[in-house]
């Protein structure tokens, strides 16, 4: 066998096509820091229930009396709805508690882990309850 042929045989790699990702996909690890968990309690000021990632904004009062403005990222509304997280659950003006992971650049932006709503219910993405039907 020629040297090229040998190299081909040694080098043939059978591998996975990069699994097709969500449009506008980006990596958590590229933008958020899993070693920087945050918990923010405050008032919802704005909700963007849009693709590719829903977002919402919370104002929280700091110990010194100042107001901090936080932005939180969620998954796409199509996935949220399957987890029972419908768009009416986040109401502007309501008091919520958000757990998340802060942006790597330490800005007041975080990737949302869970949201505790005013009635105490905790929304997360791990429920093993039956998914909401979308048919």
């Amino acid at each position: 066998m020629t040297s090229v042929g040998m190299r081909v045989w040694w080098m043939v790699l059978v591998l996975l096509v990069a699994s097709v990702a969500t449009e506008a996909h980006h990596s958590f690890a590229a933008e958020y820091d899993s070693s920087k968990p945050v918990t923010v309690t405050g008032t919802v000021t704005k909700v963007e229930w849009t693709n590719p990632h829903a977002r919402f904004y919370v104002d929280t009062k700091e110990p010194d009396g100042s107001i901090s403005h936080w932005g939180f990222e969620l998954g796409s509304p199509n996935l949220l709805i399957r987890y029972g997280f419908t768009r009416d659950l986040l109401k502007v003006g309501s008091e919520i508690t958000v757990e998340g992971f802060q942006a790597k650049d330490a800005s007041k932006v975080a990737n949302t882990k869970t949201v505790k709503l005013p009635d105490g219910k905790v929304m997360s993405a791990g429920s093993s309850a039956d998914l909401a039907d979308t048919k």
Binding site: A18, T22, H25, H26, L79, K113, A125, K135
Partner: protein, 377 residues
């Protein structure tokens, strides 16, 4: 003297028995529960592990995928640190220190995991979503696949991409590896592990080095809502089959549809290279062989590809609820002879689910990143 001899023998034997009794192994058994008190089921690869705090000896056991139960047996008496490393994005890894196991005794316990999965990363590793969407179909008795009037299998249905199976080529589709704690893309698929390795022709390797990660196309195209080569083998997709055309509709995908022509037409001679190429299907028994050429160079296929890239998908619906697709990609223009990328898609009927509208551009905030892409995508 003889009495002393026998006494000492008996004492030694007695000590021996005592020692053996003290060393009779204990056990730790129980169930792993989620925060809603439901047993953690359908979680492949879950395990519980004990590490002896004195000897560092390790005992581990898998968690039963059907019941969430585990049994650690032959555990020598001692003190242990227990971990249930269920893999970061879905559950937080569970740890408990100072678990005392006594000789001959069984510790029964419930391990209650905490949610690890972010609402913000449910698109990255939606294991629960996928398994819940597939659960109803998988619990039904086996039925034959439906057929078209001409007798050929009918692929019509809403399907969920059920992830990788052992034995699949490569590290697996979605379930290839646990994401890092706190969330993140799963290794081997779904955004992590982009850029599969395939031996490139020298000109392509050189071009890849120059272009790495720069610009709005290639690996970054999806960041600005541009199409991917095969519409979303991602979460849910749909097939609508007519005798002459098979339509593949995919959520979270641009443009969200692909046409596979079944009427025997060849690939066109005059063709503008396209993000999804041109697909024609022909039957071999009950297998539909879909042949796609005519891709442009901007869509991402492998680390880099030419317009000669060629994708073959072999599709089967072995029974009502299963869909199997074997994908083989080669590129005589940019990859070395014999270099192929293979992927298996395992679809399960997603009863009660529908494809929802997804307009990626409506509020996309992602900038183009100029830095070279690394493995953490």
């Amino acid at each position: 003297m003889r009495l002393k001899f026998w006494v000492s023998i008996l004492c030694s034997a007695g000590m021996g028995v005592l020692l053996v009794a003290q060393q009779a192994p204990g056990a730790v058994t129980g169930t792993v529960l989620d925060p809603n008190d439901n047993p953690v089921t359908n979680f492949a690869g879950g395990l519980v592990q004990l590490t002896n705090t004195t000897t560092a000896a390790v005992v581990k056991a898998p968690v039963d995928e059907k019941t969430g139960a585990f049994q650690l047996t032959a555990v020598q008496a001692g003190t242990y640190d227990l971990t249930a490393p269920f893999g970061g994005a879905l559950y937080q890894a569970y740890t408990q220190k100072g678990l005392v196991v006594k000789a001959g005794e069984t510790v029964r316990m419930k391990i209650v995991l905490s949610w690890g999965m972010n609402l913000g990363t449910i698109g990255d590793a939606p294991d629960v979503l996928i398994r819940d969407m597939a659960r109803k179909a998988l619990s039904m008795p086996t039925q034959p696949a439906p057929r078209m009037p001409d007798g050929k299998p009918d692929f019509t249905g809403v399907w969920v991409n059920y992830g990788g199976f052992p034995g699949d080529p490569g590290p697996g589709n979605r379930a290839g590896g646990p994401p890092p704690p706190g969330g993140g893309p799963a290794a081997g698929g779904g955004g992590g592990g982009r850029g599969p390795q395939v031996e490139l022709q020298p000109w392509a390797a050189e071009k890849l080095k120059q272009n790495q990660g720069v610009g709005p196309t290639g690996p970054q195209g999806s960041r600005i809502c541009l199409p991917t080569a095969q519409p979303g083998w991602n979460h849910v997709f749909k097939f609508v089959q007519a005798p002459t055309t098979l339509i593949n509709i995919a959520e979270e995908s641009t443009p969200g549809f692909r046409q596979i022509f079944l009427d025997g037409r060849p690939h066109p001679e005059n063709w503008n290279p396209a993000w999804q190429g041109h697909s024609i299907g022909r039957w071999e028994g009950d297998t539909l062989i879909v042949d796609t050429v005519g891709f442009n160079e901007q869509v991402q296929i492998g680390p880099i590809h030419s317009e000669q890239v060629h994708v073959v998908e072999r599709m089967r619906r072995p029974d009502m609820v299963h869909l199997e697709i074997e994908i083989t990609t080669e590129d005589p223009g940019a990859w070395m002879p014999g270099a192929v990328i293979k992927q298996n898609i395992h679809g399960v009927l997603a009863l009660d689910q529908e494809i929802l509208e997804f307009i990626c551009q409506e509020n996309n905030r992602l900038p183009i990143v100029a830095a070279p892409s690394t493995g953490g995508r």
